[in-house]
């Protein structure tokens, strides 16, 4: 038989520990990405030109360079300037920086999609521009970009496999270890793919449900 189910079942506990690490990396990366993304979006929309330019440069650099290289820069490169981060943290920082650029663009689009009349009405009531952002624009923009945030989670679950390059013991790294020992690459990577799929599918379905519940009133 092409697929060795016994091997898969036997190595499952070992792989699932890796899957948990993948989730941890994804979770913190996206969280960092959402925070950075919000800052980048507001920066790009701000009237302070230098800030807007810096934010735009950041976005374009992150989107125009390979993620593996970004991970290498953080893990292998930063020690040169005295910043030593352990592998897992390096991975989270690199993926988070990358995610921040993509989410920044998504948030910017979400903010701009909110009808200008909302801002006018809120300003006319005497709210300060920051309050208008916080209480009126961002809550509405957030609901609109929720599907995109969901996609970002799904993308990040998959891209977290790249931190195996810097020896973070996540799912891909661990299945490579077993495959290298048993030479059964096919079984191991098929099993790995299935585990990733279960994770991404669960996330995308959960977000679809959440979105349905939040859409009230839009």
């Amino acid at each position: 038989m092409a697929i060795d189910f016994k091997l898969i079942v036997d190595s499952l506990p070992f792989l699932l520990v890796g899957a948990r690490t993948a989730i941890v990396v994804t979770f913190w990366s996206v969280l960092l990405g959402i925070t950075l993304g919000l800052m980048v979006a507001l920066g790009r929309l701000s009237k302070i030109t230098p800030l807007a330019v810096v934010c735009q440069a950041y976005v374009e650099f992150m989107r125009g360079t390979p993620m593996v290289v970004q991970i290498f820069i953080v893990y292998f490169g930063l020690p040169r300037v005295g910043v030593y981060l352990p592998p897992l943290l390096s991975g989270v920082v690199a993926l988070g920086l990358n995610s921040g650029a993509y989410l920044g663009e998504i948030f910017r689009g979400g903010i701009q999609s909110i009808d200008n009349g909302q801002t006018k009405a809120a300003l006319s009531l005497g709210l300060k521009p920051m309050q208008v952002m916080r209480y009126i624009v961002l809550p509405q923009a957030f609901v609109r970009v929720l599907p995109a945030i969901g996609n970002e989670f799904v993308t990040m679950i998959k891209d977290s496999s790249l931190v195996s390059f810097i020896a973070v013991q996540e799912l891909t790294y661990r299945s490579t270890l077993v495959a290298a020992r048993t030479y059964d690459y096919f079984s191991m990577y098929m099993a790995t793919a299935m585990i990733y799929f279960v994770m991404t599918f669960t996330v995308s379905r959960t977000l679809m449900w959440l979105e349905g519940r939040l859409r009230v009133g839009d």
């Binding site: 009405a121 009531l125 709210l127 309050q131 009133g217 839009d218």
Partner: protein, 240 residues
């Protein structure tokens, strides 16, 4: 109470206000009429500084609000505005729409803000809708909530920008009756409208705008019965 002195405003190369001057006294109801594109909305938005005039002065109760260093948000909380498109906040309930600004801007305690909101909803005849979301309301109901929302800040003046233009006749009359009530209470109002019957009935003064300037003004009797300018005559013959 409000004095506009020689207001100019351009968008790019498009000069929209060409030296507008006008006065609104306390308790006065001033109606602004004119063809679409003549600059009525822009002028109204200058009063609460949603648009910044290029030159000229706006004086509200003795304060030159166009002066450098005047906090715009402090001017705006004294000037309520009602928009053609209602612009209720769709993610908030009716009650939250009304209480947001008193709570966040005036630091009114929540319970007090809610009590006031319910009072205002009673006034616009929508008490039972306090927990509804805007999408659950008709246009006329939304506009009445928008009026209540503006009133909750206890503004010194109310600005209405074609508040009934997006409404059918039945809903228009609901909104006009709320506006009439405000007039009766002595609210100072600047109203952009095409409802000439309403203008005749409630206004102290009608200003006719044409191409960025007020070319004629007077009491409803003067302006509607005896317009001087050809453009005013032509305009009135279309809307009366």
């Amino acid at each position: 109470m409000i004095s506009l002195k020689n207001i100019y405003k351009s968008f790019g190369s498009n000069q929209v206000l060409k030296g507008v001057s006008a006065d609104v006294a306390i308790g006065e109801v001033v109606v602004l009429v004119g063809a679409s594109g003549s600059g009525k909305s822009t002028l109204l938005r200058c009063i609460n500084l949603l648009e910044e005039p290029d030159s000229g002065q706006i004086i509200i109760e003795g304060v030159v609000v166009t002066a450098k260093g005047v906090a715009k948000h402090e001017v705006r909380r004294e000037t309520g505005m009602v928009f053609q498109q209602f612009n209720l906040f769709p993610h908030l309930t009716v009650l939250q729409n009304i209480t947001l600004a008193p709570i966040r801007v005036r630091n009114t305690p929540k319970a007090e803000a809610e009590a006031l909101a319910l009072e205002l909803l009673h006034k616009v005849n929508l008490e039972e809708k306090s927990e509804a979301y805007p999408y659950q309301l008709s246009g006329g109901q939304q506009q009445r909530v928008a009026i209540a929302r503006a009133l909750a800040m206890k503004p010194k003046v109310m600005l209405f920008d074609e508040a009934t233009s997006a409404l059918d006749p039945a809903m228009t009359s609901e909104v006009l009756s709320v506006m009439r009530q405000l007039v009766a209470e002595g609210m100072t109002m600047v109203v952009v409208t095409h409802e000439m019957g309403f203008a005749r009935e409630v206004s102290d003064k009608i200003l006719f705008m044409h191409d960025g300037a007020i070319i004629e003004q007077g009491t409803p009797a003067e302006l509607l019965q005896n317009p001087q300018h050809e453009v005013t005559k032509a305009f009135l013959s279309k809307v009366l």
